[in-house]
Amino acid sequence: MSSTLLNAKDISRAINRISHEILERNNGAEGIALVGIRTRGVALSHRLKEKIESIENLTIDHGILDITLYRDDLAEGIQKPELRKTEISFALENKHIILCDDVLFTGRTIRAAIDALMDFGRPSSVQLAVLIDRGHRELPIRPDYVGKNFPTAKSKRVQVLLDEEDGEDKVIIQEQSK
């Protein structure tokens, strides 16, 4: 059983809005860089980058973060995630980093991502952009830019499908399969 939360148009509109919010908050694109969290945060960060670059007509830095090595559930054997590369080829110093992820839930992924980022340098600030905020935070973390707030039951599963990874754009919610 699943139902659609956002369709392709909704997602596109959210990206547009967030791009403008980022520019507004940071007084333009000067000094900002986008970092996507693997896997779907990467596609989102690419879309935001494209959008912002087309609005401002300049190139901004972009990076990819694999937070596997920073997870706090690794030792519990909950998952055995495949490790992939982290690619951050620019200096973080004096940069405003926009971390991008698809769904904000407990906040633990973002905690790991911030830890990972800090190992690469000392950015001026770190901001967080997510497509869906579904609540149930376990850490004091809040997003700066949200596509859609969608309070959910903890047992539900929110899944973001993106063209780059899944061949279509949509956000669905389903019962957690046991």
Binding site: D66, T68, L69, Y70, L74, A75, E76, G77, K80, L83, R84, K85, T86, E87, D115, A116, D119, F120, G121
Partner: protein
């Protein structure tokens, strides 16, 4: 399961998928060693014991750095400081260490099969860091990683291994791993240093270095142990060098893009000449760098597997 095996005792028991996964994972780890802060918290709270019954600087250091870059606590115990000199049995030593709950034991021993023996008595994963003339799997894996990063694909590559094949655990580990990855292996050296019927391992045997390097993608030079001279296996190092030292002359017929690797430490001018060692074709230092990534990958994959069974 991340890997098909709980221990890394030999490359013989690693599948193609295992090797691929180890190399891919190691590739991802390479970047960590280039950071300003060369450390990730992944193995925080884990304990790795380096149990070395044979002197080693680079292998032990490589394992130690790998563990530390992943935030594990690494303890080094060498043969001379361990109880082995007091006549304590290998198994007792290991059991005592295990009672302290390490998460991984890295073992080097002068006897072939010692890590395999330990694995029968110990629950912690064991990585063989070189046992006698048997195997040295992490060395073979780092060699493959080095070759792969320069050649792209391993399948179909031709390699020649030069030197003391009889006593080389590096050669054995590499031959097995390379064959698993679809590479072709030739060995070259004087007959007393190549076991009889070595062809049964599926390798080509040659005694002519100049010809043997002709069509290969990689030349792996092995360290020649000085004591082979006293054992009557070599007449003299000088004579050995005349026939088997890798020089630009002996490489005359080799391809221009041939890669040169050596597990180190190098006896300059005995098995390899200085100019070849320092030529752009030589990847000897890249191997050292690859070594850290490979060992990080092994720790990560073994502990990941261990974690797959909580309770």
């Amino acid at each position: 399961m991340l890997l098909s095996t709980k221990n890394i005792l030999s490359t013989k028991e690693l599948t193609k998928q295992d090797i691929q996964q180890i190399l891919d994972t190691a590739d991802s780890f390479k970047e960590i060693s280039t950071r300003a802060i060369k450390k990730v918290p992944t193995l925080r709270g884990k304990t790795i014991i380096n149990l070395f019954f044979e002197p080693s600087t680079r292998t032990r250091t490589s394992f130690e750095i790998a563990g530390k870059r992943m935030s594990a606590d690494v303890i080094n115990i060498s043969g001379s400081t361990s109880s082995s000199v007091k006549g304590e049995n290998l198994i007792d030593t290991a059991r005592n260490l295990e009672a302290m709950n390490p998460d991984i034991l890295v073992v080097r021993h002068h006897c072939s099969g010692a890590p395999a023996l330990l694995s029968q008595f110990i629950d912690s994963p064991i990585i063989n860091a070189g046992d006698g003339s048997h195997e040295h799997p992490s060395q073979a894996l780092l060699d493959l990683l080095t070759i792969r990063s320069h050649k792209g694909d391993l399948a179909g590559l031709k390699v020649v291994i030069v030197g003391d094949i009889s006593h080389s655990r590096v050669a054995r580990s590499n031959i097995r791993a390379m064959q698993t990855m679809g590479m072709k292996v030739r060995v070259v050296g004087p007959p007393p240093l190549i076991p009889p019927d070595f062809e049964s391992l599926g390798v080509e045997v040659s005694h002519n270095l100049r010809e043997a390097v002709r069509d290969v993608d990689v030349v792996m030079v092995l360290r020649i142990q000085m004591e082979r001279q006293n054992q009557g296996l070599l007449s003299s190092l000088r004579e050995y060098s005349n026939y088997f030292c890798l020089t630009s002359e002996s490489l005359a017929k080799a391809r221009d893009d041939v890669l040169i690797i050596h597990p180190g430490p190098v006896n300059r001018g005995v098995e390899i000449s200085l100019d070849v060692m320092e030529s752009p074709r030589s990847l000897i230092l890249n191997q050292v760098t690859s070594g850290v990534s490979i060992r990080m990958a092994l720790f990560y994959l073994l502990l990941g597997e261990n974690n797959a069974n909580p309770n």
